[in-house]
């Protein structure tokens, strides 16, 4: 994995929030299993899952954002050499039009 290109040197803050939300959600789920009283079960099945869903959505958002930015940078890299070639061609064309 060490050879992989990192999209972020450190995890973005949004991802840390997603981690904390997921931990809270897991805590509520475990509470309901270990101490099954009505309040715990209702909290786990409503608040817990809601928080977990928000955490997963934030993670998905971070991944999609990274994908979008890497796509954009890929496109920009592809476009850059084409532009340089285009400029070179223009330069050559301009040279051929020099008066005889």
């Amino acid at each position: 994995m060490s050879g992989e290109r990192a999209t972020h040197a450190r995890p973005p803050r949004l991802l840390k929030v997603a981690c904390l939300l997921t931990l809270t959600s897991l805590a509520l789920i475990c509470w309901a299993i270990l101490h099954p009283v009505p309040l715990a079960v209702i909290a786990a099945m409503s608040i817990g899952q809601g928080i977990g869903a928000i955490g997963a959505a934030l993670f998905a958002w971070v991944v999609l954002r990274d994908l979008r930015s890497s796509l954009r940078s890929g496109l920009a890299k592809r476009a850059a050499p084409t532009d340089a070639e285009g400029e070179a061609d223009q330069g050559a064309g301009a040279g051929s039009e020099t008066p005889k």
């Binding site: 992989e4 309901a32 270990l34 099954p36 309040l39 079960v41 786990a44």
Partner: protein
């Protein structure tokens, strides 16, 4: 459902609950490691995070839900609201002659005795029962049940006699004559199995003293 006890703990956890706990622990360990170490976010780390933030918690939640729904059927769960203490004591009393206790002490009924009689009948009975249970929970947490003159806990709608007749069909071959005679009135809800002169109230009078 199979239940196992966690060693050095009085907590009883169902097999499904145990699986959900293990999945939650795996997920939590990775998340904590990730938060503490804050490694660079590579594609590999994103895959690992996909499991830790989505796949494992979702599976744990789904399995936990099934386990929780099974747990909510148990007498232990119903009795965890202290207003039910009086009824649960009677249900499990070996010398009680109440209708609830006679049923609740049957081996096949014992663990889910409350649910077996009080769940709604029909295809969506489980769902409507749980939704109705939410109202009981609301009443439990919003009412002052320790007030001496508080009314006894009561059903919000008439008891569904199909819960009785599903097992005790009044028209089955060999059914007691009294059942056969009253079958039509039971069907039209003119009388109830728990009417005075028939089987009487299924539970003894509610005792707030036991609650306190």
């Amino acid at each position: 459902m199979a239940r196992c006890s966690l060693r050095a703990s009085p907590v009883e956890v169902s097999a499904l609950g145990f699986v959900a706990l293990v999945l939650s622990a795996l997920s939590a360990v990775f998340i904590v490691w990730f938060l503490v170490r804050s490694p660079p976010l590579t594609v590999g780390k994103k895959f690992q995070l996909f499991f830790a933030l989505f796949a494992l918690p979702t599976t744990a939640a789904l399995i936990g839900n099934v386990g929780n729904l099974e747990t909510t059927k148990t007498v232990h769960f119903c009795g965890s609201c202290h207003v039910m203490t009086s009824h649960v004591h009677d249900l499990q009393a070996p010398d009680s002659r109440s209708l609830a206790s006679l049923h609740g002490r049957l081996q096949e009924y014992a663990e889910e005795a409350c649910y077996n009689c009080h769940a709604d009948y029909g295809m969506y009975g489980g769902v409507t029962t749980k939704l109705g249970g939410m109202r009981h929970v609301w009443d439990f947490y919003t009412g002052d049940w320790e007030r001496p003159d508080h009314a006894a806990p009561a059903l919000y709608k008439p008891f569904d006699l199909r819960r009785c007749t599903a097992c005790h069909d009044p028209l089955r071959k060999g059914a007691p004559l009294e059942h056969q005679v009253h079958a039509e009135k039971l069907r039209t809800l003119e009388i109830s199995c728990a009417s005075a002169g028939c089987h009487g109230p299924p539970h003894p009078p509610w005792s707030p003293a036991v609650v306190r």
